[in-house]
């Protein structure tokens, strides 16, 4: 039991394990209820960990994973600047015109664009960029947007699974375990390339084969001039240069001996410099302020609070106890543990926010390392956690933030995505992707 992280003088004489456990469960329930903003809940929970005597301030700060925060912040800044160039609209329209505005192939093209962007940017940003273009196109073609939005939910979550930077669970796992960009590319991207057609096939059978548009309406879409979407060619060049350097930095991070957060934040600083160089000091201040307001502070403070909450719980030894229980159930067998983690993560992530789930699982699984046979034996378990928590988000409308963003757009466009009808198709489809992942994990690692 790690009691050196705090005073452990819990108020009212409560047992630290009970206090930390109850506080965590209460915070979790409040986050799930969505009655209070999740950043408020996590920060209050973190405060109670400190004021309740579980952690000192120093210990609380040590529990915060600044590598995750730095990587998220750096990428948010890069995307906030890059999106002004119009590159994302360009990509969407370009891909749609390559398939001659054929309704089914537009769906495939937008799925690919969404998946690739989700692998390189965060999923919420990707859908904020792609879904309005999708609605514009389906409006012009006079066809229902529902299959497109459904497919884009899957594409965002599946695509985000492919890389270290694609989805917050991967960032957290990568940071905690020391897995780099290439590790995710070699281990998860091949599966993602398989999962995309696997999920597209049922979508084709349910909706795709009935999608038709008139020649006149397709002509309207073909008349879009994608080149005109690029509103700032200079910024486009700067953004592509910096994005290329950052991705290159991730790929060679081991060789250059740098952590992803340093690479992303340095890239953000470089792009801010290039973007603001021709401006006057007052214009620079205005533009930098604007870019910083686009940073998702709610997400960052949610992470900060959550890291402290989980660290507090970890310090009481509660997570070691839970890990011990899991090991008893799986009898310390790495294969059983990996498959159990995959399925439990998937089902949990379909129903609750995957970020607190993964934050809790990481220290729990780390403590199993010795019993399971060392770091190498634990690798399939880490990949299972990444796959389960990212792909599980497809299981319901509340499974991932990107799903809710898309549902919000659908509501505004008058074609709402309802919770149960979505889940009736999405949940089995998510289970199918987990079944394929199980086979992949089994054949490749076990």
């Amino acid at each position: 039991m790690a009691a050196d992280t705090g005073t452990q003088l819990v108020i009212f004489g409560w047992d630290p394990i009970w206090y930390a456990g109850s506080l965590f469960i209460l915070s979790y329930l409040l986050i799930m209820s969505e009655r209070l903003n999740r950043a408020i809940v996590a920060m209050l929970g973190a405060g109670f960990m400190v004021f309740g005597g579980i952690l000192t301030q120093q210990a609380a700060i040590e529990g915060i994973d600044f590598n995750t925060l730095g990587l998220l912040t750096g990428m948010m800044i890069i995307v906030a600047i890059t999106r002004q160039s119009g590159i994302f609209e360009y990509l969407a329209i370009w891909s749609v015109k390559r398939v001659n505005a054929d309704p089914w192939w537009i769906l495939v093209a937008l799925v690919l664009v969404t998946a690739v962007l989700s692998a390189l940017l965060d999923n919420v940003t990707t859908v904020l960029l792609i879904v309005p273009v999708t609605l514009l196109i389906t409006d012009a073609l006079k066809i229902t947007a529902y299959p497109y939005l459904f497919a884009e939910i899957f594409a965002a979550n599946v695509g985000g699974t492919a890389t270290l930077i694609g989805d917050p669970p991967n960032i957290m796992i990568g940071s905690a375990v020391g897995l780099g960009f290439n590790d995710f590319i070699f281990n998860l991207t091949p599966l993602v390339l398989l999962l995309l057609p696997v999920t597209l096939l049922p979508i084709y059978l349910i909706w795709g084969r009935r999608l038709h548009a008139s020649t006149e309406d397709r002509e309207r879409v073909m008349n879009y001039r994608e080149a005109d979407a690029i509103t700032d060619p200079r910024l486009l060049k700067q953004s592509l240069l910096v994005l290329g350097l950052v991705i290159g930095g991730f790929i060679f991070s081991h060789a250059i001996g740098q952590q992803p957060a340093s690479i992303a934040l340095f890239g953000a600083a470089l792009l801010l410099l290039l973007h603001n160089l021709p401006r006057s000091p007052s214009e620079q201040t205005r533009e930098v302020t604007r870019v910083f307001t686009e940073v998702e502070w709610v997400t960052l403070f949610f992470f900060i609070g959550l890291f402290v909450l989980v660290h507090g719980m970890e310090s009481t030894g509660l997570l070691d106890l839970a890990a011990h229980q899991i090991l008893e159930m799986t009898r310390g067998d790495p294969a059983k543990t990996a498959i159990s983690v995959l399925w439990v993560s998937a089902i949990a992530s379909a129903l609750v926010d995957n970020i607190p789930f993964v934050a809790t699982m990481i220290p729990m699984l780390s403590s199993m390392e010795a019993t399971l046979g060392g770091p190498e034996a634990l690798m399939p378990v880490w990949w299972s956690l990444a796959l389960g928590s990212c792909l599980g988000g497809n299981g319901s409308l509340v499974g991932a933030s990107a799903n809710l963003i898309i549902a919000g757009f659908a509501e505004q466009s008058g074609q709402p995505i309802r919770f149960m009808p979505f889940m009736l198709i999405a949940f089995p489809l998510m289970l199918l992707s987990i079944l394929v992942s199980t086979l992949y994990i089994w054949m490749r690692y076990l």
Binding site: G86, P132, L135, L136, D139, D228, A229, F409
Partner: protein, 161 residues
């Protein structure tokens, strides 16, 4: 109410036009647009059968109806340089909804004042709204009148120095 330069008690009630032209939520979009265009109204209040204030309908609504939904929605497309449309495309889009009730496009106006809102606060609200301002009875929710730039301008110009 006497209005002289020493009257510090002047309120929104003294500034408003008590008989503004109003629309009903069931009015058709096309007839509301024709009315707005004919009299060059920027916006008109909408009231129900009991004359309770429901919102406003204005020329901005016309733009909202002819632009693609993907553009006018919250977090919608900010960059549509690549879209090429004609005036006929816009007319076609309007035609699809012209027989719908104005309720689908009515703006639920949050900027409103009560009849006893003091002069400067009412003018500040008018300045921020940049269009005519509804005066609503806070208890019954009934529309009592509208304050326009022209009503206010007229009153200021006629005030004794």
């Amino acid at each position: 109410m006497t209005q002289d330069s020493n009257d510090t008690g002047i309120t929104a009630a003294a500034l408003m036009n008590p008989n503004p032209k109003v629309l009903h939520p069931d009015d058709r979009i096309i007839s509301a647009i024709e009315l707005v265009m004919k009299h060059r109204y920027r916006r008109l209040p909408v009231v129900d059968d009991q004359h309770r204030f429901q919102g406003v309908f204005g020329v901005n609504c016309l733009l909202r109806l002819v632009l693609p939904k993907a553009v006018v929605m919250e977090d919608g497309l900010e960059n549509i340089h690549f879209v090429r449309e004609t005036l006929s495309d816009l007319r076609r889009r309007l035609k699809e909804v012209e027989n719908e009730p104005i309720a689908i496009c009515m703006h639920d106006e949050e900027s409103r004042v009560s009849p006893d809102t003091p002069l400067l606060e009412a003018l500040r609200m008018l300045y921020l709204t940049r269009a005519s301002l509804p005066v609503v009875d806070p208890e019954s929710g009934r529309l009592l009148g509208m304050i326009s730039y022209f009503d206010v301008g007229e009153k200021i110009l006629n005030a004794p120095l």
